[in-house]
């Protein structure tokens, strides 16, 4: 099971945080700080795995964003890399050539997509097509209601 998933920039600014375990706010902040320090300190051609406490940390850099997740001992790290890649592909499909700004300005959509891919720290859908369809349908639901109410979304 994945314990958490973080996205942060090269300057250490947090862009997304998903927690699959109940942790107090103070501890979450500390973990975010530890992760950003550890991952940003890594040299360019080192492997994507780290050891932190009793968790395996898997991270991958996509352009200016670092995707970082924490796994338990029996989880497959190489597969986690595939999971992170799948998430990036979904974002790319949705936003069209996704970049960091897309995620900054549409963070809630990034969360919605993530919630279709992962739940409780496990993958819930392995078909890209299926996830994209679900997101589109949900968005439609949103717009339909707004149009009906003739009010702007938010």
């Amino acid at each position: 099971m994945m314990h958490f998933l973080l996205l942060f920039s090269r300057q250490g600014k947090l862009r997304l945080q998903k927690w699959f375990l109940p942790l107090p706010e103070r501890e979450r902040k500390k973990i975010v700080k530890d992760m950003t320090t550890m991952v940003l300190a890594r040299k360019p051609r080192t492997c994507n795995f780290l050891h932190w406490k009793d968790l395996k940390i898997v991270y991958k850099r996509y352009a200016s964003l670092y995707f970082c997740c924490a796994l338990e001992n029996q989880d497959n790290e190489l597969m986690a890399l595939e999971t992170l890649h799948r998430y990036v592909e979904l974002l790319d499909k949705y936003f069209g050539n996704v970049c960091e700004l897309d995620i900054i300005f549409n963070f809630e959509k990034a969360y919605f997509i993530l919630d279709e891919l992962l739940m409780g720290g496990e993958i819930q859908e392995t078909s890209k097509l299926s996830i994209v369809k679900s997101i589109e349908a949900s968005d439609m639901l949103q717009e339909t209601m707004e149009e009906y109410m003739s009010k702007p979304a938010f």
């Binding site: 947090l14 862009r15 997304l16 945080q17 927690w19 699959f20 109940p22 942790l23 107090p24 902040k29 051609r45 080192t46 492997c47 994507n48 795995f49 780290l50 050891h51 029996q74 497959n76 790290e77 190489l78 597969m79 890399l81 595939e82 999971t83 799948r86 900054i104 300005f105 963070f107 809630e108 969360y111 919605f112 919630d115 739940m119 409780g120 496990e122 993958i123 819930q124 859908e125 392995t126 078909s127 890209k128 097509l129 299926s130 679900s134 349908a137 949900s138 639901l141 949103q142 209601m145 707004e146 109410m149 009010k151 702007p152 979304a153 938010f154």
Partner: protein, 819 residues
């Protein structure tokens, strides 16, 4: 009140802030606006405000005042509100706050909503952050949804059930009926989440595990279809069909096959198929292979399959991709215990990984290398490991040094090699060596008796180079204190002996005392070493001066030592030789790790000490037989070790046989000895053993002269051993009044059958001429039957170039020594 600004507008504004302070100001302003908007209970813009709040929360600002608003959004009828509301609940609420329980009813309603996406939201939120109370309340709803035909909901319900089980394990039974036909689904999402659910149940309950074992054929079939099926665009990743599902199935198979022969056999074929057919050019193929290898190693697979698995790992080690190499090293570490030989084949590749640039890989390779060291490859491996120790990061050095010491202790092919290796570690990584290694090393050095001269010489040379590494300095100063006489006499056999004078040695030791680099502990060591040299060197005045100076040292420990040593010079000078004599062989404390499985290669003397008495008899018995001829005794009974089993020292500590009747021929008549006050039993410095220190003065036993011939006088002084009144502790003092030294002096003793005797090692084997010094040695005699003590002694030494040997009997023991 004007409409609150839109989310994107806020984000844009905040990003224009140039300083942290500016950003904080903007945020505070907006928060105030949001708070007043919340107070007005504005339904229209609640969604927008909470969204903005979530953004500010991500930047690190407090957002707790929005928690109730999230609940209101969830309760709303609009989908947009629900979406943001649930997101807010997942980000801002957690089970620690009682507020979250208010969600339960909303979630319950939404789980039964007509729109599947609303149901999906509810399931998602429950599955991510549902507390145990919420899970208990809503488990029934989840179970219902698990049985629905809607695959979108079914897959979410399955993962929600996983979360419920994690939070409230007792509810696991509830979901059992619903799992009946989960695996017959076509939809991959449902299949995947079902496998996760089954895995969770099997991990938590052995009953479930045995129940689900019957699913193995079905799982094998699904896996087979995935591999054999053609291209499926929906699930394809780099030419492999649904790798996520394949990996999860392999993991479930691992759990089901563990410890069960039938299941393991049923999966052998498919595992072999996956292992051989998977494309390895991309990461995803290697991920599947990795999972397969883990499964093969865990179940009861046939040996061919295991070899295949290890070979896959071996191939991984040669892969260019660092991640793959890292993963291979981690897996090999797990399997090295069970499949040691197979992993040994890849040793050279593993050792090459020590030179990798990546820190994580280096650490794994180091751990694996230590696991692979054995008696056969110790020399080669140690070369590599020492090279690694030289060049690795400081964080590794402590672990590497400890590992090297452990490996050297277990598999050292020779004493000299062992000492050389230790020296190498101390000189290269001396400051990183752990604190407990200093006493261990000292013990090791003491026990390698024939290497004393060599060791002290090398350590002395190392000290001349560098005194900054404390463990090295401590060990070196201890050795110099103990074996300084060997150093000065230039007696080294192993290598070219160096010429060093007593003053030079004292210079070095004094240098340690004053150096800024020395820690207080090190200073203690060197002061004690200097003191010990007072019985081994002749420059007493210099030593006395040093000791008296430190009597007023600021460091309390040093001061105490110096004051006590001073007292030793003044009032108790007669005790000094006995107190400061050579350390006996130390009993080995329990070594960590399996010392029974040690493969010692070419060890000249067995260093594995055991506390069993009998097995050590065989070696001394053969020596005893030699003495039999010489001493002419009959009814030889080999000595049984007494309290402390020690390895026989090569100089004068051989176990002797007990003799039957000692013929009472005229021995040397005991001359009344000059009143030598009772000597204390050897008090071992640094508190390494627990010998009684100053015993009851009231039990004074007068000393006696045991032997006096040809200028060699041997005196016995007595002490009762406090814990056991049946043991008499005799200290012999051998002095030489002739004009030439007596070298290679060996003292041996034998006692009648009813006694038991233990001879500790002598202070030295040179009795200096003109009574300049003496050789002392401790004898412990156990006399349980309180019979009259008699002893036969044998002396051998070299005097003026020719060997001398003599036998004598000692009968004039004072009655108090054996009553």
């Amino acid at each position: 009140m004007p409409a609150p600004i839109r989310l994107r507008e806020l984000i844009r504004t905040i990003r224009t802030a140039r300083t942290q302070a500016e950003e904080r100001e903007m945020i505070q302003k907006e928060c105030a606006a949001i708070r007043s908007s919340f107070r007005e209970e504005d339904n229209t813009y609640r969604c927008r405000n909470v969204a903005k709040l979530l953004y500010m929360h991500m930047l690190g600002y407090p957002a707790h005042f929005g928690q109730l608003e999230c609940l209101k959004l969830i309760a709303s009828q609009k989908f947009t509100d629900k979406r943001i509301g649930y997101l807010g609940a997942m980000l801002l609420l957690d089970e620690r706050q009682d507020v979250h329980l208010l969600m339960t009813n909303c979630i319950k309603n939404d789980l039964n909503h007509s729109t599947q996406y609303v149901q999906g939201l509810a399931l998602c939120t429950l599955g991510c952050m549902g507390s145990s109370e919420m899970c208990r309340d809503l488990a029934g709803e989840v179970e219902k949804l698990l049985k629905t035909s809607n695959s979108y909901l079914r897959k979410k319900a399955a993962l929600c059930a996983v979360h419920v089980i994690r939070k409230v394990p007792e509810l696991m039974e509830m979901f059992l009926p619903a799992t009946k036909n989960l695996l017959s689904e076509k939809n991959h999402g449902v299949l995947h989440t079902s496998v996760v659910l089954l895995t969770e149940m099997c991990e938590r309950s052995p009953d479930m595990l045995s129940h689900f074992r019957k699913l193995v054929p079905q799982l094998v079939r699904i896996l087979k279809n995935l591999i054999m099926s053609g291209y499926s665009p929906e699930h394809d990743v780099s030419g492999i069909s649904d790798p996520f599902l394949q990996v999860r199935i392999l993991r479930l198979l691992r759990i089901l096959g563990k410890g069960d022969d039938d299941s393991s056999e049923a999966m052998n074929d498919i595992l072999a198929q996956v292992a051989t057919n998977t494309e390895t050019s991309k990461n995803v193929g290697n991920a599947i292979l990795y999972e397969t290898v883990l499964t093969i190693m865990d179940i009861k697979s046939e040996s061919g399959l295991r070899v295949l698995a290890i070979n896959i790992l071996g191939r991984f080690l040669l892969n260019n991709d660092k991640n793959i190499r890292y993963v291979a090293l981690t897996s090999l570490l797990k399997t090295v215990q069970t499949d040691h030989n197979a992993v040994q084949r890849h040793r050279s590749t593993i050792v090459d990984c020590l030179k990798d640039l990546d820190v994580s890989i280096k650490r794994r390779a180091m751990e694996l290398s230590f696991a692979l060291v054995n008696g056969n490859n110790i020399r080669g491996m140690m070369k590599e490991l020492l090279y690694f120790l030289d060049s690795c990061d400081p964080d590794f050095k402590a672990d590497c040094a400890s590992g090297i010491f452990l490996a050297a202790e277990k598999y050292a092919p020779s004493k000299r090699w062992h000492i050389d290796t230790i020296m190498r570690v101390l000189t290269t990584a001396g400051s990183y060596v752990r604190d407990d290694s200093v006493p261990n090393l000292i013990q090791l050095i003491t026990n390698s008796v024939e290497m004393h001269a060599y060791t002290v010489q090398r350590l002395y040379k190392a000290l001349l180079d560098d005194i900054s590494q404390q463990p090295l300095v401590q060990v070196a100063s201890w050795c110099i204190g103990e074996y300084g006489d060997l150093l000065v006499s230039g007696q080294c056999e192993e290598e070219e002996p160096i010429q060093v004078s007593e003053d030079e040695v004292l210079d070095v030791l004094e240098g340690l005392l004053v150096s800024n680099l020395s820690t207080p502990v090190t200073r203690g060591y060197s002061l004690t070493a200097i003191m010990k040299l007072s019985t081994r060197f002749s420059s007493l005045n210099r030593i006395k001066k040093v000791v008296s100076i430190y009597g007023s040292s600021i460091d309390v420990e040093l001061q105490q030592r110096a004051v006590e040593y001073n007292a030793l010079f003044k009032k108790y000078d007669h005790m000094r030789p006995a107190l400061l004599e050579r350390m006996p062989i130390m009993e080995k404390t329990a070594t960590n790790g399996p010392s029974e499985t040690v493969q010692t290669n070419g060890e000249t003397d067995s260093t594995i000490l055991d506390t069993k008495h009998l097995p050590s008899i065989s070696q001394p018995a053969s020596q005893a037989n030699d003495l039999l001829d010489l001493l002419g005794g009959n009814d030889v009974v080999p000595i049984i070790q007494t309290t402390v089993p020690t390895k026989p020292a090569s100089a004068g500590g051989e176990l002797l046989d007990l003799l039957g009747d000692l013929s009472l021929t005229g021995g040397p008549t005991p001359t009344p000895a000059s009143s030598v006050p009772m000597s204390q039993p050897p008090f071992l410095l640094d508190g390494l053993t627990s010998q009684p220190l100053f015993n009851d003065i009231a039990a004074v036993i007068p000393p006696m002269t045991a032997y006096n011939k040809n200028g060699l006088i041997i005196e016995f002084t007595f002490e009762r051993s406090n814990p056991n009144p049946n043991i008499a502790v005799i200290t012999i003092h051998a002095t030489n009044s002739t004009e030439a030294d007596m070298t290679e002096f060996v003292f041996q003793a034998a006692v009648p059958k009813t006694f038991q005797l233990q001879l500790l090692s002598p202070s030295s084997n040179v009795v200096p001429a003109f009574n300049q010094g003496s050789v002392t040695q401790v004898i412990r005699v156990l006399n349980p039957q309180k019979q009259q003590l008699r002893m036969r002694i044998k002396l051998t030494y070299t005097h003026k170039g020719s060997p001398v040997q003599d036998l004598a009997e000692v009968n004039n023991f004072p009655p108090q020594s054996w009553q």
